[in-house]
Symmetry: C2
Subunit: 452 residues, 2 copies
Amino acid sequence: MKIILLSGGSGKRLWPLSNGARSKQFFKVLQDEHGNSESMMQRIYRQIRLSCPGTEVIIAAGEAQSDSIRRQIGSEAETVFEPSGRHTYPAILLSVAWLLDKRQIEDTEVIAVLPVDTYVEQGYFEKLTEMESALADSGADVCLLGVQPTYPSEKYGYIMGESMPDRPYRQVRTYTEKPDLATARRLVSEGGRWNGGVFVFRASFVKALIEKEVGQVSFDRLYALYDRLPVNSFDYEVIEKNTSLVYIPYDGEWNDLGTWNTLTEKMQEPDGGFVVRGEDCRNTHVINELEIPVVALGLNDMVVVASADGILVSDKHASSYMGRYVEQIDNRPMYEKRQWGEYKVLDFVQCRSGKESSLTKHMHVEPGRSLSYQMHHLRDEIWTIIDGKGLFLLNGEIREVVRGDVLYIPKMCRHGMASTEGVDFIEVQLGTELVEADIERFPWDWSEQLGR
Amino acid sequence: MKIILLSGGSGKRLWPLSNGARSKQFFKVLQDEHGNSESMMQRIYRQIRLSCPGTEVIIAAGEAQSDSIRRQIGSEAETVFEPSGRHTYPAILLSVAWLLDKRQIEDTEVIAVLPVDTYVEQGYFEKLTEMESALADSGADVCLLGVQPTYPSEKYGYIMGESMPDRPYRQVRTYTEKPDLATARRLVSEGGRWNGGVFVFRASFVKALIEKEVGQVSFDRLYALYDRLPVNSFDYEVIEKNTSLVYIPYDGEWNDLGTWNTLTEKMQEPDGGFVVRGEDCRNTHVINELEIPVVALGLNDMVVVASADGILVSDKHASSYMGRYVEQIDNRPMYEKRQWGEYKVLDFVQCRSGKESSLTKHMHVEPGRSLSYQMHHLRDEIWTIIDGKGLFLLNGEIREVVRGDVLYIPKMCRHGMASTEGVDFIEVQLGTELVEADIERFPWDWSEQLGR
């Protein structure tokens, strides 16, 4: 068996910590049995290793997660990077194409797909073996995990099943993805189960889907044509339409950590960052990533989250409905982790005189990393080095820069920065259209200077 | 009669909008009968003008409030600036010394002292005439305003009185400043009244106090020795010890706007700034001065205030007890309005290498204003002009600077900036101790360049 761990999705419902460039699965807010903090990704990977020590794990993720995965998991797990985020159906096809094409696995190999954002007990992973056996015994296309519902939720898929005499698995009779509340209530009362997002199938099953989409089982071709695949979940695209499904019931602990309401329940500490809390707060979590204090007084069942992107103040239950409110917010990301390091937007000013503006950032380049060699058409930049040391590249010339140096970069000048020990600078942008998109990149090889 | 309007005090209980450099009485969160927004200062000054059109008003304030007063009230009211904030007893002595010494008023002149942070109906000001008559008729030292209590508060002084046959005023029998809750309950049940902070007395009464403190009635002497006066309220220092007191009862609307709980009740709009609110919020006020959004979901009876200095999330009732929590916070002000304009701290970094650090500010110099001519011992500064135009002074030489100019100011260099049209710049400080106190000031006369 191979395990594909799905680590896509930015999680709008965990705004303002989760955005395109930062994903919930890497927040170290959980704890293991020794009290050490760990992320969702670290927890589930540790649990897989414990129950399935020999099994190969492939992580399907966005390119932006590359550094986080390397930092948290190391390089033991193979990672398949999606060219863009298009939901679980394309992600599963791409990962299976990688296994078939690049790893040359057999068509008969069994593959288990697991979501990364569930909080479960160890017994969950032991179900994988039962699911593999059910698949073999039943000859079904896919074996699901039927989670015991705890309330009539509109967020999940519901499985109605039929017991099979002398078999641990059951036949799926009907499958209903995200029903309305009334239907969810009826399905729960009739013994329905939630689809836990675990899919066990033979490689050949998804191979046929890949061939249908791009004509042949080629990872490179699927990668190149990725943007033509439907943006859809595997649940809607495959499971809801399929009649050859079985499932294994699971009655153990199962929590979807996709909302603040559920995530805070599993959090190690009620507060994070600079927080002053009144003794009169109850069942309240305050997470503050800003440098200014958050004072919380007299709060009940609340979650308060402050980050560079915004501030959430919500009743815990109401927080699950935040998606549509966050969609109204269209401001640029104020903080991003990148391959080369991270930046924070500090200030933005529209000039009194008219259409010119100014944007100020704190830039941090990590040791051994480099910014791309780039040029802007619509802005000048002034960089003031405030910490560390770097190699500054301007129109093909490299020079060493240190704290206190000021670099003036007029528009249309090619520039770059690399650093062996890490460097921080304040970047002041001056121009007419200060957007991330005003960037033209050029190749440059820093391997000599960075020693790699 | 002369009126002294006490406009001191920064109001810790209105953190994070109120701090040493910004005072609650200037927030334009109220509205007049035409729906125009106005501040506490504007409201009370307008009300005084209406009820007492000919009466001279003196505003006792901190120097930092000078610009706000000029902007909101104009130059019609005379302002007496306290050299430092030392509570109401020194402030009242200083204002009366100014009237006696600089304005040469008679000892028999009647003076009324009013607090700026009460929200009252017009009838409140008509009581001033009754208080003046009561003072004359009774021969008492001070006439107070006895406000009808609305609940047993621990925050106020309680007056127990005796009716005088055929007189509209009453004799004060006992006076209890800030009792505990049990005592407050008893006093309210026995018909006690709150001291509304209005004091009416003859100039001669406070003249004696001034003579006691500094030997003679000299404004300049009192100003020079101001730091030796007790830091105390007029209530504790004078009223509680005095036995010659009368009061006029007042049953009209009276609200102390000193806490978020009371201030939000009088606010014009429930939200200010970039706020996304769920329809499920009730009796909740959200004020956001930051550029990032605040999302508020499912809140009841809450106040949320976000400013550069911090974020308050509080149950409205609990907000009155915030003083002791805010005292724990000792971070530098992140935003200050000054005589010359304003600044915002954008970023602070402790260098990885050791004791050096870096601080980044957005500075705004208002049109026709100038920064003091100054020098730092422990830091270099780099200024990048991002908007407007200024006159930059470095070691005695002036040159014009515009958007895009970068100015390097090494430590021990004298520098200044003036602007006729207003100028904005990003200031990066680099040094070992980045504190406001590292500043040596030198005289410089900009009157020629600024045309005044």
